[in-house]
Amino acid sequence: MNEILIILFTPLLAGVLAWAFDFRGVREVIGLIGAAVPLAYLVKLYPAVIEKPVDYALTVGGFTLQFQLGTMSWYFAAVASLVGLAMAFGLVATSRSGYDWLFALMSFTGVLGVFLSQDFIGFFLLWELMTFASFMMVLKRNRHESLKYFVLSVIGAYAMLLAIGILYARTGALDFETIRQALIIDVSLGTIGKGETILLFTLFLTAFGVKAGAVPLHVWAPGAYSETDQSYTAFFSGALSKAGVYGILLIYMLMGYKLYAELGTFHGHLTFAYVIAWIGAITVVVASFLAVLQEDIRKLFAYSSVGQVGYILLAFGVGSPLGFAGGLFHVLSHAIFKGLFWLVTAAIILQTGRTRFRDMGGLAEKMPFTFAMGLIAVLSLAGIPPMAGFASKWLIYEAAIQAHMPLVAGAIFLGSGLAFAYVVRFLYGVWFGQRPSELEDVKEAPLPLLLAMTILAIPNLVFGVAPGVVTGYINRILMGDVVGGDYYRLVTQTGTYNALLVSTALVIGLAIAGLVYLYGAKARRVPVTDTYQSGNPVTEEFNLSIRRNFYRPLAEALEFWLRYSWDRFYERLAKLSEDFADALRQAFYNGNVQSYSWYLAIVLLILALWGVL
């Protein structure tokens, strides 16, 4: 069915055209069409996908690339295209060059390809394409960060290629279906030993851990997310990080039974799943602590994005069907609220040109619509009940505690507390407090950006009030009635959550409170500056605010832990290897032809000795 081909390659084609016809109006229109087509076709194919997965095979260079649009790939592709569409609208406002359009849409094709491909060669090819395109977006603005990002992603990609090679050598096949069967049969055959299974697992884990931003490999995320066009980061962190998480699901699907057979269980949990759960938990805690202490708005959201993906990793690590349901729901909710946050940041940076909290403040009056969107994103990320964020987090809580993983569930509590903290810090830093005098003439964000924000804000509300819609589809993915209840209620064996009722209760509460408010006397409107200065103007040096170092006490409490940082460790490692390379070069190619002849003589000696042995 060539619909899959259309879904896959229209963004790339549109990107190339947009880059070729690099004129103000034309580029945007082509880009938007390119970004909208996948979503349109996915919606069109929805009824077909429900009955039977749509297949398509393509032979390139002696390899057959198989693509399949099944229920799961449809879900991931739909999430990615929704965020992609929002990104496209955002790019219309924030980017001026065809370069951005080309590589943004190329990474869009890469992600869709990763979700749809059914064999390792297609998977690896589109994975590399996605990494390369997102790297080029960062390369344009900052060399160091982009190189750090590319080196880590390429190490991940090559680890995956090594694993693919080993699998091909052992099972003689490259497509997922045959490998899955071969590995299941192999459990009894035992051609792949325990050591090799662990090697395969670690290789795949590194590859997908890098892209998802699991803790030891997350160092690229803050740099890469903040050093590129912010509306592209909505897609970068909203959809690209999902490729890493999709990979973890792939490990379950392909090697789950084999890993279980080889590694057995630990306290009743699958050992390999337990490892993933703990990686997720550590990512949540570490990333959230780092996010709280950031001074730059982009870095804050970058670490927060790493933390949120940690939730998904944790949910998949739990290993129970409910865990997968929670994780999959969080894939959607993270994509929409994080995408929304990045678009809000794009609007702020576009209008004020500043990225640090200390230079911003009091923008709520100046950019009311963006502030409203920001508030929705805040409520959703912090997990306040009527929002989608809460529904997925609730499912993850249920799964973790039901699966008797108490400490991991504890990590979620701490993580969501920290999430609440850094989200409010964002509110105070940007929207409230005294407004610096230079920001007096800040206007509202341009229309396309506002449109992009609404595209992502609406699902936050809709899926918040009616989470049953999403869990209904997830039940279809997991082929079982994992999460009961109708559109408005989520029912699991041990708990229920009636989203509609909670929302109505909140509305009732607000109504009563509103009545009490109206009962009181009329309120006189007083400008914010007329507070502790009792009327005289708040001059620059009297602009008392703690926007800078908002959480200094927390930093003091954690000062022992903050001494160690993965980032500095990797920088030293990179410098070390580069110096080693330099030393090797100086030593070996020292320019003296005599020493070169000695190398030849040594090889002759080796041959002689080897001949004698």
């Binding site: 070069r585 100086q586 190619y589 020292n590 320019g591 003296n592 032809v593 005599q594 002849s597 000695w598 003589a601």
Partner: protein
């Protein structure tokens, strides 16, 4: 059928190699190189030698079974020509080197390195 000539040839090769590896002067290295080539040629010829037979020039008294195997000798002819060409090229390069560097000591000719 290891004949005594093989030892002569191999020792010549090793002497040539020794000269290339140890001598600091470029010309001495080139001389070592040509010694090595002569050693190789000697080895090539001695492989074709069958004791008790005469040179492979057919004349009335000497038929194909009285003569030594002619093919290695043909190979040696070409090898010698190649050796001459290489040495001539090397010496002309050595002249340029002396012109540009002012020295023939291998230790100093090290501008291209790393």
């Amino acid at each position: 059928m290891i004949s005594v000539y093989y030892f002569g040839a191999i020792s010549l090769i090793l002497i040539g190699l020794y000269a290339v590896l140890v001598k600091k002067n470029v010309l001495k290295m080139l001389i070592g190189l040509s010694i090595m080539e002569t050693g190789v040629n000697l080895l090539l010829v001695s492989i074709g030698y069958i004791s008790g037979r005469s040179a492979p020039i057919l004349s009335e008294g000497i038929g194909p079974n009285q003569a030594v195997d002619p093919i290695p000798q043909a190979l040696v002819l070409t090898a010698i020509v190649i050796g001459v060409a290489t040495t001539a090229m090397a010496l002309s390069v050595a002249i340029i080197l002396y012109g540009k560097y002012g020295t023939l000591n291998v230790e100093e000719i090290r501008r291209l390195r790393g």
